[in-house]
């Protein structure tokens, strides 16, 4: 899988896709959606779709794309390569969502939580397949949050397509399992070849699985927390694991709209009854006020 796009800039999102097999434009197709890397505190989350003609579902099953959770990393890579070889009836596409994108979405002023980001990404991939002319008639997806609203949303977005959102979909439907393999292969490769934009000194890649409860991951986070900059962008700052470490180890940061400790400018009530009315100096002209400028009366 060619992740060079991601290596160029791993602070946003990047889309990879196979060519569209000709038969997928002619015959009615089933499309499976799944993700990889939803839980880890490190590295990207990957959303993937995989589609093939209904008539070739048996062949897809024949590829042994059983429930991807039961497969090892190398088995997944071998299977992915096999799907590529038999590419004349299987197509795929995926979005790699960088940790920075996840963090900035979740921590932005306008909250854009992980479920919404997931739903929108999945929907974007289905839209992408349709725009490429794939004749999608059925969509199967694993649940992200409660299945009903997600299924309802997908049905609204794609009228005329049969949508099924179910838990454990990757064990029930071969197209979802195949999508899950694509997502996992992409995530594993992205993590393995992660290029740190921060020139870290003693960079070690012993971060384990990236899951918050993995002791190796926790140790790696503790080792790489930086009091002013937090963490490398490989880390999802919006994860509570990361946040609690920052609270303990890092400096605070105040923004102009941070809840300010004291209400500036509230004069003491007694000052309004002072003997001489305070000669209120004329405020600086609007030109200066709008630019935060005032005469310097000391250096």
């Amino acid at each position: 899988m060619d992740l060079s796009e991601l290596e160029k800039d791993n602070s946003g999102r990047c889309r990879l896709s196979s060519a569209v097999p000709a038969v997928c434009r002619q015959e009615p197709c089933v499309l499976g959606i799944d993700e990889a890397g939803r839980g880890p505190v490190l590295g990207p989350m990957v959303y993937a779709i995989c589609y093939c003609p209904l008539s070739r579902l048996a062949d897809l099953e024949g590829l042994k794309v059983a429930d991807s959770k039961t497969l090892s990393e190398s088995e997944r890579e071998r299977l992915f390569a096999k799907m590529e070889e038999d590419g004349e009836f299987v197509g795929w596409a995926l979005d790699v969502l960088s940790p920075n994108l996840i963090s900035t979405s979740m921590l932005g002023r306008v909250k854009y939580n992980l479920n919404s980001l997931s739903h929108d990404t999945a929907e974007g991939l289905v839209r992408f397949a349709l725009d490429q002319g794939v004749n999608v008639t059925q969509v199967f997806a694993d649940t992200v949050g409660p299945p009903e609203p997600y299924e309802k949303k997908l049905k609204q977005r794609f009228p005329g397509i049969e949508v099924t959102v179910k838990a454990k979909a990757d064990a029930l439907y071969p197209a979802v399992s195949a999508a899950s393999i694509c997502a996992k292969v992409a995530r594993d490769q992205a993590v393995k070849s992660w290029r740190f934009v921060e020139e870290l000194e003693e960079l070690d890649t012993e971060y384990g699985s990236g899951y918050p409860n993995d002791p190796k991951t926790k140790a790696w986070l503790r080792k790489h927390v930086e009091p002013v900059f937090g963490f490398p962008q490989f880390v999802r700052f919006s994860w509570s694991t990361a946040q609690s470490l920052l609270e303990k180890e890092a400096e605070g940061v105040l923004w102009e709209d941070s809840p300010s400790e004291e209400q500036e400018g509230l004069a003491r009530i007694s000052s309004y009854f002072g003997a001489s009315p305070r000669a209120v100096p004329r405020p600086p002209h609007r030109f200066f006020r709008e630019r935060g400028l005032e005469p310097a009366n000391m250096l």
Partner: protein, 211 residues
């Protein structure tokens, strides 16, 4: 933040650049100025002060994000302050008896300005007796001089696309074309007058408004 050409001023002379505390011509309180002894030029120092700023300076983070700007300022605004103050005496006086201030003794630096006499002509009547010049504040001449300042400022506001409209609007919004030009002109005059008034005593600002 200093204009680039000042960089070598401090090299040329030991005390090329001096920070001095002088009067603020509008408030009468003290303010920091920068005097360039070589070019005999005066700069006002404005400080950018907003809450919640820090610096990255080399490999460190520094709190207290203040930014001081040195902007060239017409020293006549300071001379004018003393001339108006001395006017209460109501007679012609040598300039070195006018520009005196025990609060801000460095005001005598103003007397070293190369074109001092030319400057004074904008705002005073003068008399010469036995080769010595005596000056008296002239409100009329001053208002004419300030009128020119206001028009120069209007021109600068236009070229710099400063948002002067009385109505609060996003600074990025361009002028709505429906606003007719006389209203726009009015806004510019009002804005420029307000800016100039930041550099003159209140009473003179009121006279300027009428003018």
């Amino acid at each position: 933040m200093l204009p680039e050409y000042l960089k070598n001023a401090s090299k040329k002379m030991k005390n090329g650049l001096m920070f001095v505390k002088l009067v603020h011509p509008c408030s009468g309180e003290g303010a920091i100025y920068l005097f360039n002894m070589c070019l005999q030029q005066l700069f006002e120092i404005k400080v950018f002060k907003e809450k919640h700023h820090s610096w990255f300076i080399n490999q460190s983070v520094q709190s207290g994000g203040l930014l001081h700007f040195a902007t060239p300022m017409d020293p006549l605004f300071l001379l004018l302050y003393y001339l108006i103050k001395a006017d209460k005496v109501g007679k012609f006086q040598p300039i070195d008896q006018v520009v005196m201030d025990d609060m801000f003794p460095n005001c005598i630096l103003l007397l070293k300005l190369p074109e001092l006499e030319k400057l004074l002509q904008h705002v005073t009547q003068e008399k010469e007796i036995n080769g010595k010049k005596y000056y008296k504040y002239s409100k009329e001449k001053t208002l004419t001089w300030l009128g020119k300042k206001v028009h120069q400022t209007m021109a600068a506001l236009k070229t710099n696309n400063v948002n002067v409209s009385a109505r609060v609007q996003a600074t990025t919004a361009f002028y709505s074309s429906d606003q007719d030009s006389s209203e726009k002109e009015e806004d510019y005059i009002r804005y420029a007058y307000g800016l100039i008034s930041d550099y003159i005593p209140q009473e003179l600002s009121d006279d300027l408004a009428k003018y």
